[in-house]
Symmetry: C2
Subunit: 146 residues, 2 copies
């Protein structure tokens, strides 16, 4: 299954899991909300109260040293016949809404709007201006009945 | 929060996420079922049909080269006030039921029984004899309202 088909499948999911790894090979997982714009996945960095500054978050520090990430959407049910997951592997970078009016700014505004449309919670919660942007290189789909 | 308290909290959860990393720093995620015996987490390696031999599974190859793992249980709801997650970091190893009657065998039998008790699905699905055993070293609990 190609990346475009996989991205279409995961688009409606509300939550996903992001794995990063630090240079000592220690993996790290965070549950994340996300939107897809064209072939990129975007994850906000302040959809919830943070007790540490964004740049000090473990996932951010990991990505800055090691951009390789795994991104997963899955379905768990008591009926195991209906289990499935989608795993994407790729590279992450941080993108920030900086210059008002620039091309980069337009793209980020679009991402911002996609979040507001997908998550009604953002009518009350500030999204912020920094996002993790994932370029997926490979992906696969697994289901119980294969 | 200490590891014992965290393990108590995650015990009832039916599904968790396991992250491993290979030597190129590429992280990998798998949704997993699990049980807890004393201070260890056990994950079966054949609770679902596999198209590749167990030893060829990416998570198994990763663990054999790099035992560092992250293990996460989380709750996603539309009401973000109720979001929480628990993240554990530790070491993983493979354990196998080999000798009938030995001490190791008794421990694995207990794990086997814990799975049958926790997951009614195992009345129809074979559990197998190989498990990932995680020794958690550090953990933390996050909730939205902090």
């Amino acid at each position: 299954m190609n990346i475009v088909s996989i991205l279409k499948l995961i688009r409606p999911a509300k939550v996903a899991h992001l794995a990063t790894a630090d240079s000592s090979l220690q993996p790290y997982i965070t549950p994340v909300v996300f939107v897809i714009d064209k072939d990129k996945i975007f994850i906000p960095l302040d959809y919830k109260p943070k007790t540490v500054p964004i740049k000090q978050l473990k996932r951010v520090k990991n990505i800055q040293k090691n951009p390789k990430v795994a991104f997963q959407v899955d379905n768990y049910e008591d009926d195991w016949q209906r289990l499935w997951f989608i795993l994407l592997m790729g590279y992450a970078e941080l993108v920030e809404q900086k210059e008002v009016g620039g091309d980069q700014d337009k793209n980020i505004r679009k991402v911002h709007d996609l979040f507001i449309k997908k998550y009604i919670q953002y009518s009350k919660v500030e999204i912020g201006t920094i996002f993790i942007k994932i370029s997926a290189l490979r992906g696969f789909y697994w289901q119980y009945n294969t």
